[in-house]
Each structure stands twice: as structure tokens, then as C-alpha cells.
């Protein structure tokens, strides 16, 4: 378990230094050096924007594949509720779940129902805990990481409730252990994920704890076989055993809709999320009870490892909620009792994980900030990216930290070339006069 596990790795063979990733990275975690992208992992928050934008697929999600599960006696697929929105119009969630059993898994277990349980647990938590306000949803791993890296003041605002993915894995495994007489480590629980960041729950959970998950597979990897499996018959008619408001969780506002918290809001997209986090840090938004937060602008239906157009997928989710959402899948009282028995609680604190400061020593850091400003003033301030840094300010910082040379900026290089050549011309001019004079005499 490496403490700095990041769910994305750069394949330098594939990288051709196109620089598209530089600008898109919301935390300025990428540089291009010697025509290859380089990840500064202390800044990376696993958002997957680079995975989406790279034309060469040089950003490789560190997810699992079927070969990782050969050691298990029995495998269970746990599809993110996003999965139900990836196939044709009106395909029933229950049909999708049974098709999963024909594409390489021994069984499949619904996660949407666990989302419903978790929303009841959140409700209970909100009612029992008045502070701090606002509480923040902890289910998008990128949001949790963003708080660890940039907003350590908000760590206590994260609701300490287990994710639907973990609850489902635990329940699915327990049921099968009981039914088949297997041990926990003989059963593989595999999450079919819309994004690479879910891999963190497995490799490096923010609260150090045991995960019941054994793998995280991209939805996109299972998609082709699923299409084939679903093409054989009609899966659109009849009742679906999978139901409840948990089906709405993968779209913006889905969590809020499943709660009865009056003052709650949903935010998606890192720019807006950061704006709201700044406000909270400034002491604002105290009248809001709960904030549903997604890193992806269209929430999980727009995750970087999905297949379907996120807007179409969103439409399908809304339709599913309309058709199957109204009838709950859980007995509310039963879930409340489980909540009282700490079935959903997470223990332990999440540690901050701040970006490496300008310098470990504050006075030296202040000096470097000063030098950064001086360097910045020399730059053209147009953020052209040719130096391999995303902005003139980050370039100035890299120079001060000794990670880049000032003349890697084409403008600075040109300036020094200009003054060099003026000197050179001066010298040449002086000498040629002398030589010409010598010849003349």
C-alpha cells in the first residue's frame, strides 16, 4: 500500500507531448518536460480530466482487469448505478444485472439499493448532528482528495458514512459466504466504475481501513460484451426488481432528491466546487445542511471511464427514476435500526495531504515567494505553455524551486539572445572598422 498511490499513470511511450493535458488539469499537477508529460503526484486529485482529453490515451487508469481475479473461487460484479444508463433506451436495470452473469462474473449485485440505504443513513446523521455546517458528501473520491490537498479546514465537514459501493460489497460477500460456505478472501467483489478514482478506496483509503472490494473495473471495459449479451432478447418490458431513489444517484441532484433535508444543494464540476469550498472556508453557507458534491461536471454519468454520452445517460437515469424510483427497495425502519448499530459509520480521521510548500522552512518559503513574483514580472504573462508549465506563474514557481531553467521560456530566451547578439554586433562592428582601416592604410 503505497501512500502516494494515484489512480492514473502516464505511459511515456504513448505521450507525444501534445500539451492538451497541461491546461485542463484543475490543480496544475502536470508539466511537459523533454516532450513528455510528467505528473506531480502531490498535486493530483485523481479527477480523470487528463484521461478524457489526451488524444493518445497516454494517461492510463490504474484499474483492474479480469486476469486480476483468477485467484478467486467466486466473483461478484457490483455495477455503479451509472452502468444502468449505458445501454439502449428503456433497458431494465434487472436485465442488465442478469446479463452481467454471462460476461465473466459468477454473480452480480445491485448497488443502487445500497445508495438508498445510505441516503436514509445520511438523513439520520443530519438529524442527529447540528454542526459543522454545511456537511459535505464523501462519495466522490476526487472531492475527498481535493479537501485533503487544498481545504484541510473542511475535513470535519465530510460526513463519516460509508459509501454505497462498500456497503454493497460487504453485503454481497456476506450473503455469498453464508450461501456457499466460502471465506471472504475466496470471493472477489469487483466494482464496475465510471472513474479511476474509486480505485483509491482499494489501494489507499483516506481512512485507513479494510475494504471489501477486490477490484475496480472500467465500465468501458465490460461494455462491448454486455452489448452482445443484451442484443439476444428484449429487455425492456415488465417489472424491475431493482428500484428506489438510489437509481438517481449518478446524476447531479440525485443524492439531494433521495433526502428529506430542506437546505441542501448539489454542486458538480471542480471549478464550482472550489468556489463553494472557498465560501465555506470564509465562514459562509452555514444555513446549508448538506452539499452533494461531484468532481465531474455532469456527475458520475460523465465519469472518464463511461461510454455513453453523459446527457443521454442522464436522460435515461431520469426515466428510470420515474419508472422504478418511487417504490422504495428498503424498509426505512430496518435501515434506521442498522444506522443505530453503526452499520454505516466510518471511524478515524482523514489526514490532510497538503501540496508540497514552496519551502519546508517558512522564511525561505517567503523569500521564494518574493523571487517567484520577481521572475513572474519578467514573463509575458500570456500562459502560452511552451515552457511545459500550465501558466507563467507556475513556471516562475518551477524556476524558483529549481525545477526549470528561466531560459526554457521562449520569451526570456529570445530576450537574452537579443542582448547577446547586440553585443556581438557591437564587437563585430568595432573589429571590422579596425580591419578595414588596417587594409586601407
Amino acid at each position: 500500500m503505497k501512500p502516494d498511490f494515484r489512480s492514473i499513470r502516464i505511459d511515456t511511450e504513448r505521450c507525444t507531448g501534445r500539451m492538451k493535458c497541461l491546461r485542463i488539469c484543475p490543480t496544475q499537477a502536470l508539466r511537459v518536460r523533454n516532450a513528455k508529460a510528467k505528473l506531480l503526484s502531490d498535486r493530483c486529485i485523481d479527477c480523470g480530466e487528463c484521461v478524457r482529453v489526451c488524444p493518445n490515451h497516454a494517461f492510463v487508469p490504474q484499474t483492474s482487469s479480469f486476469s486480476d481475479f483468477s485467484g478467486f473461487k467466486y466473483t461478484i460484479a457490483l455495477p455503479s448505478p451509472v452502468f444502468y444508463s449505458q445501454f439502449g433506451k428503456d433497458v431494465k436495470p434487472s436485465a442488465i444485472l442478469s446479463a452481467l452473469k454471462t460476461v465473466g462474473f459468477d454473480d452480480a449485485y445491485d448497488v443502487a439499493c445500497a445508495s438508498e440505504s445510505v441516503s436514509i443513513a445520511i438523513q439520520e446523521y443530519l438529524e442527529a448532528n447540528g454542526t459543522p455546517r454545511p456537511l459535505i458528501s464523501p462519495f466522490c473520491p476526487t472531492i475527498v482528495r481535493l479537501i485533503q490537498v487544498r481545504y484541510p479546514n473542511l475535513l470535519d465537514n465530510l460526513i463519516p458514512i460509508e459509501s454505497p459501493m462498500e456497503i454493497a460489497a460487504r453485503e454481497a460477500k456476506r450473503a455469498k459466504m453464508h450461501e456457499l460456505g466460502l471465506k471472504e478472501n475466496e470471493i472477489g467483489a469487483i466494482y464496475l466504475s465510471p472513474c479511476p478514482s474509486k480505485m483509491i478506496a482499494l489501494k489507499n483509503p483516506p481512512r485507513k481501513k479494510h475494504s471489501f472490494l477486490d477490484g475496480v473495473m472500467p465500465i468501458a471495459d465490460v461494455y462491448p460484451n454486455m452489448m452482445r449479451a443484451l442484443s439476444h432478447s428484449d429487455h425492456t418490458n415488465g417489472k424491475s426488481e431493482i428500484r428506489g431513489l438510489g437509481l438517481g444517484w449518478p446524476i447531479v441532484g440525485g443524492q439531494v432528491a433521495s433526502l428529506k433535508a430542506e437546505e441542501s444543494i448539489a454542486i458538480a464540476g471542480l471549478t464550482d466546487v472550489m468556489r463553494v469550498f472557498d465560501e465555506i472556508e470564509n465562514g459562509k453557507l452555514k444555513d446549508i445542511q448538506y452539499i452533494e458534491c461531484h468532481s465531474c461536471p455532469t456527475a458520475c454519468v460523465g465519469g472518464s471511464l463511461t461510454v455513453e454520452n453523459p446527457y443521454i445517460a442522464r436522460g435515461r437515469v431520469l426515466r428510470m427514476v420515474e419508472k422504478y424510483g418511487q417504490e422504495p427497495c428498503q424498509d426505512r425502519q430496518k435501515i434506521r435500526d442498522l444506522y443505530q448499530k453503526n452499520f454505516f459509520s466510518l471511524v478515524g480521521r482523514i489526514a490532510p495531504s497538503p501540496v508540497q510548500p514552496l519551502d519546508e522552512d517558512l522564511s525561505r518559503g517567503i523569500q521564494k515567494m518574493h523571487r517567484r513574483q520577481q521572475t513572474y514580472e519578467l514573463l509575458p504573462k500570456i500562459d502560452c505553455g511552451a515552457c511545459g508549465a500550465p501558466s507563467c506563474m507556475t513556471f516562475a514557481e518551477d524556476v524558483v524551486k529549481g525545477e526549470a531553467e528561466a531560459d526554457e521560456c521562449v520569451f526570456l530566451a529570445m530576450k537574452s539572445f537579443e542582448s547577446m547578439s547586440t553585443n556581438l554586433l557591437d564587437v563585430v562592428g568595432k573589429h571590422s572598422k579596425k580591419i578595414r582601416g588596417n587594409i586601407a592604410s
Binding site: 472556508e281 470564509n282 465562514g283 497538503p354 514552496l358 517567503i366 515567494m369
Partner: protein, 145 residues
């Protein structure tokens, strides 16, 4: 704009009154700089709250202001110097709950009369001077340890 003594760093910012679109920007910029220096999260929170309240007062009541930030290994010092109506009774304005905010301002969630008291509470050293018809000057210092 900057003073060249090696141990300190200073930078100035400006705030424009009635410019609600940018409201909170200076506070966020200062906060970002402190995070880049690895300053303790608790100190950052106090600075963020104090700076935000000062900034909002300029946006709501004054014409414009210059903010000067001075960082040294010992302390963070912020001076907010505004051109505006000034405060006739500073002692009164410093009381919790006192506010002259308009109905519209209250509808936007301001006007609890907590801004100035909160600035004072979060600062280790606080000074306010105001001249009616000219402007208000706040001095906020927070020690680094």
C-alpha cells in the same frame, strides 16, 4: 507594489465597491498564497474569515480600497484602506448585531452585524480608524504561531 526586504513579502490588491461579481476574490487569493507557503490550516481559516468580512464591508459600504498584505515568518499583517463614507461611531459599529445594511443586502445574506466583531475575534492584533467622508482603515495581524 513590493518591498524588497528579503525576510518579508508584500503585495497589494484592490477592491472595488459595489462589485459583487468579484466579491471574495482578494480573500481567496491571499488564502491561496498562505496555502502555498504551508501555513497552518487554523491560521488560514482565521485570515480567510477576517479578510472576507473586511472585503465584503468595502464592497457593500465603500467606493474602493487598497489591501496590503505583508508576510513575515512571524506574522501576517493586512491593511485594508478604503475611500468611502467612513463610520461615524466606530464603537457602535464594533458591537455585535449593529448594522446599517439595507433590505437588499439583508436579502443577500449580509447585515447580521457580525463582520467587524468577527474580524476582531479572529485577529491577534486589530485596529480600526475611520474618518467620516474620507474612509476607513483596518489593520489586522495574525501571528504565525
Amino acid at each position: 507594489m513590493k518591498r524588497v526586504t528579503e525576510k518579508t513579502f508584500s503585495q497589494s490588491f484592490s477592491i472595488v465597491g459595489r462589485e459583487f461579481f468579484d466579491a471574495g476574490k482578494v480573500s481567496t487569493e491571499i488564502k491561496t498564497m498562505l496555502k502555498e507557503l504551508g501555513v497552518d490550516a487554523g491560521i488560514i481559516r482565521r485570515i480567510a474569515i477576517a479578510m472576507y468580512e473586511a472585503e465584503m464591508n468595502v464592497v457593500m459600504y465603500a467606493t474602493e480600497a487598497t489591501v496590503t498584505l505583508e508576510l513575515s515568518p512571524k506574522a501576517i499583517r493586512i491593511v485594508v484602506d478604503d475611500r468611502g463614507p467612513g463610520i461615524p461611531d466606530v464603537e457602535l459599529a464594533m458591537q455585535e448585531g449593529y448594522s446599517t445594511a439595507t433590505t437588499e443586502m439583508r436579502e443577500m445574506g449580509f447585515g447580521a452585524g457580525m463582520g467587524l466583531p468577527n474580524i476582531k475575534k479572529n485577529a491577534d492584533h486589530f485596529r480600526i480608524d475611520s474618518v467620516v467622508g474620507k474612509g476607513t482603515r483596518l489593520e489586522i495581524s495574525i501571528s504565525m504561531n
